[in-house]
Symmetry: C2
Subunit: 401 residues, 2 copies
């Protein structure tokens, strides 16, 4: 007898047949002797439809009212799933975010969970019901409805699993697990049986969009066992947990991220504090700087080169140009035609030569490396965007075949 | 400076243009120096669409889950209207039923308001905001969402007006007031400037579907001034209030109701308690009996004849046949091809000859009267359904031309 939290995304509840399918999965979980809390997202295109309705009225809606509007999507899903569960003979009750006890801060459209009051969920579980909870939403201290932002339903599910000390938190999606690379890109990509939280975090932030990062961070913090699996096939997925087998795979995956651009500030006078000024400006504007390269100074000058998310390039250039006089620098350039390709694996900590093998594979494919960044479990290289898909394939061949 | 509650039905907020129209009406109310609380229903077909979604899954949904599902309709409306109000420069905030303080009993899909906690509404009004409230919904003592049933948004609006001692409660609809008869039926039907609560109640229960009866009862109980008016034209509507001018119109309207059937129990032994048994059976099954006719006894028998709502005929016949042995009666018959035509007016209390004038008009039109029922402010006749439209016209001519 275990307690299992199961989360189903929008495509898993998109229509009547999908909802009935989810009801059968949950009923099977119960029939196997487990308690279940089920977290669901809005159906298929519901959120987009609601955003379109708002867009007809204003392009600058109040964020509070957007949350009021969008939270109806999950509320529709939970009512329908609860009805479907009764059809398959499974007693259940649906709860909105506020009924389920999700208290958040007041940041509409991107709220953070402050506290989960589990009294109602636990009381319903003790009455032998499946509890169907609306993901993505909560209330703030003013009793106003908030939403958690992108991937919020994953976070809702992990928060419930953490608060209830659930045995497992299953994230059902339309892929059947975490792969060593994007299967659409790399033909021989393999599904992983296990991956560690840290590896998953690196993969997620590197563009492997299976699990929302906030949910993985939360799962790591509270040691929640996660499983990513498909709602369409009945096969085991990928378990995400604290420590995985060290034996076995040296690296867990290859990821690419095209949502990146390089900014080069040329001929910055080589005096103390020059880089500091640049990066404090970026921090003030909340622009995340990732890889940084600083050329060694010559003629009393150096070049400061760094990557930012593609969406922030214009803002970054604007603030740099505005403050150009403070640097006394030369040209400021941006290159948007780049991609970041990375390998991730806790195993590389104890193995030398991993970076060398990656660079060799790229060299043999005649792919030029522009920047390099490493962490304990990750190596990233910045290359031309046009080489990205080929790079993923040759690196995957070098490590995972 | 007055406080005005304004209620807009589903057709008034059906699409973007209609919502902007409502926003302008509300903004004008504010610009004239008034505070406003606005109650809205679900957009156009939203409720039907949600019912259809549930119907795809089960034909016997949990009523609690239906309320969870249907209450999203008004929540979408309030968010969109609040956005529209900001577009026309009118500060506002939307509140769901539970946020607005509607506490109901636990009768899902047909809940009754037990208590309205106005703290949040008053606090938002004091911040100089228009408060946009989701009609039709509340929560029960378990913190579960309930809905008020058909016409519930009218009731929500009147309840707010009563609790806040509002100066006026305007019910915006797609007709511009209460008419002396259905304008589609009677070409020279006239709009009334005023009508009393009692007259409105009689008209509503007689088939003039402008205002929900519960909302009129509530308005009468708490002396809320109501106005029925159109959201599409800017003309004064009909004021519903406690007492109207006695001078002027003898009767206020002619209504027909085709939702009625006659049940005849023939040859009931003429002993004490015979009628009691019949009507206590109807009461047990919660079937409303309206007009009752009992023939004078001859040969030791009498006929008991009465009307019931069309929807209850089969249930009434079934329970009577089941208990036939208790009456020792003859045939039990039902006639569904009847209609009730009524005149309503407080003025008839002080005028004799009203009934005679009505019957004369029907006689001259060669329309046979099967049953008659009178109250202080109403005279109803039961006639053949095929004569109903003609009857409304000749009676209207006799009194209102």
């Amino acid at each position: 007898m275990a307690l299992i939290v199961q989360k189903f995304g929008g495509s898993s509840v998109a229509d009547r047949d999908r909802i009935m399918n989810v009801a059968r999965i949950v009923a099977n979980t119960r029939a196997a002797g487990n308690d279940a809390v089920v977290v669901v997202s809005a159906q298929g295109d519901t959120t987009d439809d609601l955003i379109a309705k708002a867009g007809e009225i204003t392009h600058n809606p109040s964020q509070r009212e957007m949350d009021m509007l969008l939270s109806t999507g999950e509320q529709i899903s939970i009512a329908l799933l609860s009805m479907a569960l009764s059809v398959v003979g499974c007693p259940s009750i649906s709860l909105t975010g506020w009924q389920a006890g999700f208290h958040t801060n007041r940041a509409y459209t991107r709220a953070r969970i402050k506290h989960l009051d589990t009294e109602r969920i636990e009381s319903e579980l003790s009455r032998n019901r499946v509890v169907v909870v609306a993901g993505f939403q909560g209330i703030n201290r003013y009793d106003d409805i908030t939403t958690l932002g992108r991937g919020g339903s994953d976070t809702s599910a992990v928060a419930i699993a953490a608060a209830l000390h659930a045995d497992l938190c299953q994230i059902y999606t339309d892929v059947d697990g975490v792969y060593t690379a994007d299967p659409r890109l790399v033909r021989c990509a393999r599904k992983l049986n296990e991956i560690s939280f840290d590896e998953m975090l690196e993969l997620a932030s590197l563009g492997a969009q299976v699990l929302n990062n906030r949910s993985v961070e939360l799962a790591k913090k509270y040691s929640v066992n996660l499983e990513v699996r498909s709602s369409l096939t009945n096969v085991p997925g990928t378990i995400v947990k604290e420590v995985t087998d060290v034996e076995g795979m040296l690296i867990k995956g290859v990821a690419k991220d095209k949502d990146v651009a390089v900014i080069s500030i040329l001929e910055v006078p080589d005096v103390p504090g020059a880089s500091f000024k640049v990066f404090s400006l970026m921090a003030q504007r909340r622009i995340n700087v990732d890889i940084i390269l600083q050329s060694s100074g010559k003629d009393g000058c150096k070049d400061v080169i760094f990557t930012v998310p593609l969406a922030d390039v214009d803002a970054a250039l604007a603030v740099l140009e505005e403050n150009r006089s403070r640097f006394g620098c030369g040209e400021i350039l941006a290159d948007r035609s780049v991609a970041k390709v990375s390998i991730v694996g806790a195993g590389m900590q104890s193995h030398s030569g991993v970076a060398a093998r990656m660079f060799e594979a790229l060299f043999e494919a005649n792919i030029n490396i522009r920047m390099i960044s490493t962490s304990e479990i990750k190596i990233s290289v910045l290359i031309a965007e046009e080489d990205a898909d080929r790079a993923v394939n040759v690196i995957h061949d070098a490590f995972l075949n």
